[in-house]
Symmetry: C2
Subunit: 197 residues, 2 copies
DNA sequence: ACTATTTCTTGTCATTTGGCAAGTACCTTC
DNA sequence: GAAGGTACTTGCCAAATGACAAGAAATAGT
């Protein structure tokens, strides 16, 4: 019931291997549907992360800096796996929070279930590796894209490459994501609006 | 010969599984010894990354920013796997360089060889996943530790947590790693020396 | 609909960091 | 050991960003 997007996502992410429909359903059966209302949490600091396919909605990850202020570290658009690597794969308490920015729907699985699947459906291991690589690469690209750029350039890049963020997240969250204060972001937007005419 | 450190490293990174000595040697046999002299490259931008165990020496990864200036993105102490995720796992051309900061010795393997090993020695897959997770976590921790800190705080943390970097890398490389100019780093060190007395 | 709360903007001023240029010290290499 | 290069430091000034505080606008709760 409604796991079509999950199944399609898995299928399109197991390259070089043929997976039977039966295997796909064995996999999908392990995932449990979950709805997360706006501002509610998929992961709270202090808990251990699960592994979720975000079918619809928009999420953000954030942590507290040394001053106790929230810093948004990531935005998750739909059709992505959502998890905190460190906590999920090492079964450790998370320091990050993952929160629904809009109402979300997803399918999640625990570490134990995932490993059982890896054991029972060997082809599925490839999916696991791919997700890990994909997330790592995405994370790295984001940090590299930030290097030696002014706040305005970072803003500009986010606007062109991830404009959907602006449709969902608050400017405060976006500001901390860009590594600046909401005050500065506001000023940058003013300047940017002037130029863009 | 001399692959003992490699073998010991692999063995200590395949948790929950028993690997026979024979299997360990099948694995180690695929790795090829390599020596990289100071300032020479393990990976050059434009090439595809291999996967190397750094047995001795010290390396750094760097890329060019939009102004064409070198930005050090990572330092590798010995007893670590060295590779560029994106390039290695997706067989794509690297934009990063990985260079020996001191004379290095290591053992490397190609993507094809690694996959053949994963196929022939299934227990070894666990090692592959662990390395991916470890590197991802290390990378993330570094970026998170940098959040909302002044240049001086970042310097201070590097001093306390990774002081070995200062034994090998030049201040110019360290400055770009900290996201500042060598000029600023020099000033910070002066202030820091005063306080530390 | 009214109030309270949160979000966003704006002003003033201080601080951090960078750009540039010059100077010193060290290290190669022939 | 002289010459040239690289690494590091320092001074002066400019630019970017933050801190704080107040106001305007939007949103949520009752």
């Amino acid at each position: 019931m409604g796991k079509e997007t999950l199944i399609a996502f898995i299928q399109s992410n197991i390259p070089h291997f043929f997976v039977t429909n039966e295997a796909l359903h064995v996999i999908a059966d392990q995932f449990q549907e979950v709805e997360i209302a706006r501002n509610d949490f998929f992961l709270k600091a202090g808990k251990v992360s699960n592994y979720m396919f975000l079918a619809s909605g928009f999420m953000r990850a954030y942590t507290l800096d040394t001053n106790g202020d929230e810093v948004t570290t990531y935005f998750y658009p739909p059709n992505r796996m959502v998890f905190e690597v460190s906590s999920f794969f090492q079964h450790t308490i998370s320091t990050e929070n993952i929160q629904a920015v809009t109402d979300c729907k997803g399918y999640f699985i625990t570490f134990e279930q995932l490993n059982r699947l890896f054991h029972n459906v060997p082809e599925f291991r490839e999916f696991g590796r791919l997700m890990l690589v994909k997330e790592f690469v995405a994370y790295k690209q984001r940090t590299l894209a930030m290097i030696n750029k002014s706040a305005e350039e970072r803003y500009s890049e986010l606007m062109t490459n991830n404009s959907e963020v602006f449709l969902h997240a608050s400017l405060k969250h976006i500001a901390s994501f860009l590594g600046i204060t909401d005050t500065s972001l506001s000023r940058i937007r003013r300047e940017y609006a002037k130029k863009g005419v």
